[in-house]
Amino acid sequence: MQKEKIKHYQIPIRDLDISMSDVEEIAHMGDDMPSYQAFLDEELKQLEGVASVQGGYSIEDACVKGDHLLVGEVEFITGKAVSHHYRNMNRAVVFICTAGEEISNRSKALTEQGELVEGYLLDVLGSVMVEKAMDIIQDALQNDMAEQGLKITNRYSPGYCDWNVNEQKELFSFFPEQFCKVSLSESCLMNPVKTVSGIIGVGENVKFHKHVCHACSSVNCLYRNENNK
């Protein structure tokens, strides 16, 4: 199969459709805390003109071999818990998506000014932004694949279960340097910090799971389903 060109998306903030409850739930704000609705509305308005929310992916031939994935010519040792979710895939969508550096810079500035809750809320907002942006890209991908009679899996990333974070290096090898203005440090920290990367499996008989928290050992994950704590 011929390798397809890397697809790139630039996503306006308004398309992310972020609500206060998206942030409050993850931040564990609690009912007795003051409302930060006006603060978040204003911050989102300010970000609208400057934030560089973007992402993209490359589609590669792929297969599962036990606890490994073979994507193009690159082998990922994901561990069985993750490779199990990719079974029956014959293509892999390698993705990167970022909320940009603006949100993290603003969060840091507020924290340094002593606006601790506001700084924290923007940090959470950055996480919400990047996940929502990736949801948009994943939805578009799902529609594209459906037109070809194909299905997609959930997205999984190095760091999940036994999949070593070090394999970010292999994952980034599918993209040109500074793709979406994202860089990877020696310790595999992505910069901007509010960035996600990973692999989505594609095939005629792959499965999408509504909840996968039970299979993941990341008990500190912000998005972990409460029932799986």
């Binding site: 805390m33 601790l116 809750v117 920290l189």
Partner: protein, 222 residues
């Protein structure tokens, strides 16, 4: 004055910063930590007593509730802000030496890692429990920890890491610190580390929550 100290502890515990602060709703229009700390000082209560009998009991309760998942990060931050408002009145007394703190804690996120929310929470909680905190920030090398510790004899070092890939850097930093001065106490924390890792790398203490760090420091100070 004891009643006022108890009220200060309550303000810290529930995050009442000052009179105009709307949080918590049941304390609307009441004095907060800012006003009460000033009233205590004006009433002749020593800064050390305000710290030990007002701020520390409040912050300790927050630490325990956070450990027990009874409060979450936003509530802890409100408490920290309330504590900071009171501490602003006390700082001149610490700087002049008129009042003393329990010790010095040097904290930083290890080299290669830029995550700081967990580290900041520990720093706030430790400060509120009577220690001077020197926060070296993120991406901190062993030499910076050693240099700061040498300038502050008797200090304790805290290392934070969020990435599994920076656990190796944590190990190197602990080894470098211990090689330079085996008596320097080092505690570690962060999502990927645990007690086994702590023992493996020769650190002195692992704590899964900020209150654990406070308890470790208190045990060293006693």
């Amino acid at each position: 004055m004891n009643e006022l100290l108890e009220k200060l502890a309550y303000c810290v515990e529930f995050g009442k910063i000052n009179k105009v602060s709307p949080f918590p709703p049941n304390m609307k229009d009441q004095d907060g930590a800012d006003e009460i700390a000033k009233q205590l000082l004006d009433g002749g209560v020593p800064a050390t007593d305000i710290l030990m009998k007002g701020l520390m009991p409040g912050m300790e309760k927050v630490g325990v509730k956070f450990r027990e998942n009874k409060v979450f990060v936003p509530q802890v931050l409100m408490s920290a802000k309330s504590m900071s408002a009171a501490l602003d009145h006390l700082r001149p007394y610490f700087q002049s030496g008129e009042a003393e703190r329990k010790g010095i804690f040097i904290i930083g996120t290890v080299e290669g890692d830029l995550h700081d929310i967990g580290k900041n929470l520990v720093a706030m909680m430790v400060e509120g429990n009577g220690y001077e905190v020197i926060d070296l920030g993120t991406d901190v090398k062993a030499e910076q920890f050693i240099e700061t510790a040498e300038k502050n004899p008797g200090s304790v070092i805290g290392l934070s890491a969020l990435l599994t890939t920076t656990m190796g850097n944590m190990e190197k930093i602990v080894a470098t610190i211990k090689e330079k001065n085996a008596d320097l106490k080092v505690c570690i924390g962060g999502a990927p580390v645990n007690q086994d890792f702590c023992e493996k790398i020769g650190a002195d203490s692992y704590n899964p929550d900020p209150q654990g760090v406070v308890e470790f420091l208190n045990a060293l100070a006693s």
